[in-house]
Symmetry: C2
Subunit: 450 residues, 2 copies
């Protein structure tokens, strides 16, 4: 029989619990602080925005959280997701390395985001919430939440950054097909939106403004809550289904990863893949190098400061201890919209400080070159975000070609590029430029820290 | 354990041969005729356009054709494809029927088309061809061939109908990312294109013109051949992997289909699903009703004539005995571009005449209503083409709700709608109209028969 290409788990192998890495760490992450008192915030501070179950998950000390059967039932629409051995890419690169990718593009919206959108919708519905609000940029997260809300009969209201709303209509149409209402942000529907429009009627919006609008609407309506697609502990918790499945699939393959690579924006894709492997590493059962890859245009881990900062541009959130470029930093418009965030998940930031993984920043042209190479070999056109991880994989595979090392390399291919094809178009005609962050811009951005 | 949602086969269960229905039919289909002599054409007439292996498959009398290992190796990137039980849609409809769908949207380009693009590229490469030409409308077929050519190192040159080339750039970008060259058609590169442009410099093009350009280029270059994405026997042969896998998955489910439903344009998706089940039916091992669904705007099976006609608008192909609306018929611009073909596969047309399946035509608004219903329940937004089959499934499921019948219904969900979202947008804002073919237009179209 031919060598295997795909490692597919049976539905029965769908994980029945999420993994919480916090109790396994040598020390706990620093708590979020109230911006006024600078005292640690309590669950009651979050109650207007999140359901009790998710607040409990945000601060839990348990190692595992059971996945409700209602969530598993929806996960089964696409999970377990496949683990691929990239044999055709290996051959194209001429490398002795074994390349594996865990493919999350099989989800209904083409990315890993539904892994957390589904439980967030479930817990809200279970506590009697009837409406969820959120923000979205290019629309990956908004699509995921719209899909999840349709599954649990919730109204879904999305504030989408106006520039994306106008220029990238496909994701808006996807959200609407799933039954969501999508507003361009800034909008006349909120005080925050009206204030921005009064100052600049033609404002293109920003993720920070859209967050303010979604939070304001949720806080004002007792039957509504707010949902966030990355950064927070409970979001990373939900994403650990990726790594738990990949562990089982590596066992099927009879292999062990020497290197694990993931792209980082807010950190949920990377954490979701890496945490279960990090558990094995901390327990001494395997010893992979773990590497985060961020865009050179938005290098929070490699060039940011580890400090308390706001999660949003407007300064409405609690203060979070994280690697940050400053909450007023606006990254250049690179195509990997999902990686354009000024900060990094506080939990991942803490683990980075503990020295448990390393980080590298790569410019987008090298990333798209890797994306095209991958597409022509493997047939899947990767979303702009995971091309960052693929570029690091290609670097390592070529290094192995020189040294003869037969490393097993695992990456998370967190989405496909069906709705990002214009970015490939720009790359192919040579109209893509890198946007490496300059020293001057970095200094200016860090000066905005609270 | 919870009831199953997905039936996933192991790589080892990937079919190792395609099924040819012809020897199992009570009588053979009428042969293609030379348009000049009206005598049956021979293999040598096709040699300038197709490689020998595919011409042999076109006329083979064997029941099975072995799938080369090189083709199976590429199939494994996404095959076996999943069979789903649509439990959430059943619940939403309140039907006692059991709904199953075989999902081909997991392929690299999001449709069933690579099932034939891959072997076509393989056989051409094996015979020393270095370049394939083809036409494409909206771009599903062109994307599939571009992907397949990248896998076998072939140059791929696609003539895309100019209206689509200009208005729907995403598929063009997908083809280019896979390394293909895409020309708007009519182009200045061919005599056929130049003739059209001389008469009308702003011609929006048509599939018929694009076929002429691709055929002309292939015929003029000894190292090039032409590839077609539907209609022909060898294309339907390759697509039988769909039905063969579905048969095994039904065995896994411990169920037997009472009704099989597929959409029909050129017929390759429908034939691919139905033929293996039809084999079982002809052998008396099961007795499903088999139903083709076509658009009311282009009803070749339900309202066309069974006669010899040209396969293309320009009249360059052999004469094919098929259900046709006349080769000069131009269907209204419905959103299911893949079903806008004046004729029907000669093999399927013959089987329809034998009374082995039935057909129904449905208007596109009912189809998109079913598509939205399906998307909100199952999470997958169906391409416009398979919404036709889904509309027929919904009709039957609601009939079962009235009668209490617990029918098992199987359909082929041959693709997703990521690149067709504007069609859903038009539907959701009420701007979609049906385009049922009028009696006058039908009479006029049939008058063009040769």
């Amino acid at each position: 029989m031919a060598a295997r290409t795909k490692y597919v788990l049976d539905e029965a192998d769908l994980p029945d619990r999420w993994y919480n890495i916090v109790p396994d760490l040598p020390e706990p992450p620093p708590p979020p602080l109230h911006p006024g008192t600078r005292e640690p915030i309590g669950p009651e501070d979050l109650a207007p925005l999140f359901p009790r179950a998710l607040i409990a998950q945000e601060v839990t000390g348990e190692s595992y959280v059971e996945i409700p059967e209602e969530v598993r039932e929806v996960y089964r629409l696409w999970r377990p997701s496949p683990l691929y051995r990239a044999r055709r890419l290996e051959k194209a690169l001429g490398t002795p390395a074994r390349l594996y990718y865990k493919y999350e593009g099989v989800s209904p919206v083409g990315s890993h985001k539904p892994n957390t959108a589904v439980p967030q919708a479930f817990y809200n519905a279970a506590e009697g919430v009837t409406r969820l609000t959120t923000e979205t940029g290019a629309g990956q997260w908004g699509s995921a939440l719209a899909f999840a809300c349709a599954q649990f009969g919730l109204d879904c209201e999305v504030w989408q950054v106006r520039a994306s709303y106008d220029q990238k209509p496909y994701r808006k149409l996807m959200m609407e097909t799933f039954g969501a209402t999508v507003h361009p942000s800034p909008s006349e529907l909120t005080a925050s939106g009206r204030a921005i429009l009064a100052a600049d009627p033609r404002s293109p919006g920003s993720l920070g403004i859209a967050i303010s609008e979604a939070v304001e609407q949720a806080a004002a309506d007792p039957s509504a809550r707010y949902a966030l697609g990355s950064v927070l502990n409970h979001v990373l918790l939900h994403q650990t289904v990726i790594g738990e499945e990949a562990l089982r699939q590596f066992a099927l393959a009879g292999d062990t990863p020497d290197l694990i690579v993931g792209c980082t924006g807010g950190g949920s894709n990377f954490g979701g893949l890496a945490f279960p492997f990090l558990r094995e590493k901390l327990a001494g059962r395997m010893n992979p190098v773990i590497r985060a890859v961020e865009p050179a245009a938005c290098p929070s881990l490699t060039r940011g400061t580890y400090a308390y900062d706001f999660g949003d541009t407007a300064g409405l959130t609690p203060l979070l201890k994280m690697h940050t470029l400053g909450h007023e930093f606006v990254p250049d418009p690179i195509h990997a919209g999902g990686l354009r965030y000024h900060g990094m998940s506080p939990l991942l930031s803490h683990i980075f400080e503990l020295g448990l993984f390393e980080a590298v920043a790569i410019g987008q042209r090298e990333c798209f070159a890797a994306g095209v190479r991958f597409a022509r070999a493997e047939g899947i056109i990767p979303a702009p975000e995971p091309t960052h991880a693929l570029a690091a994989c290609v670097r390592e595979a070529l290094r192995c070609k020189e040294t003869g090392e037969e490393k097993a390399i695992l990456t998370a291919l967190c989405g496909h590029a069906h709705l990002d094809l214009p970015a490939y178009g720009a790359y192919l005609v040579g109209e893509m430029t890198d946007h490496d962050l300059s020293e001057e811009a970095l200094t200016a951005a860090l000066a905005t820290l609270p």
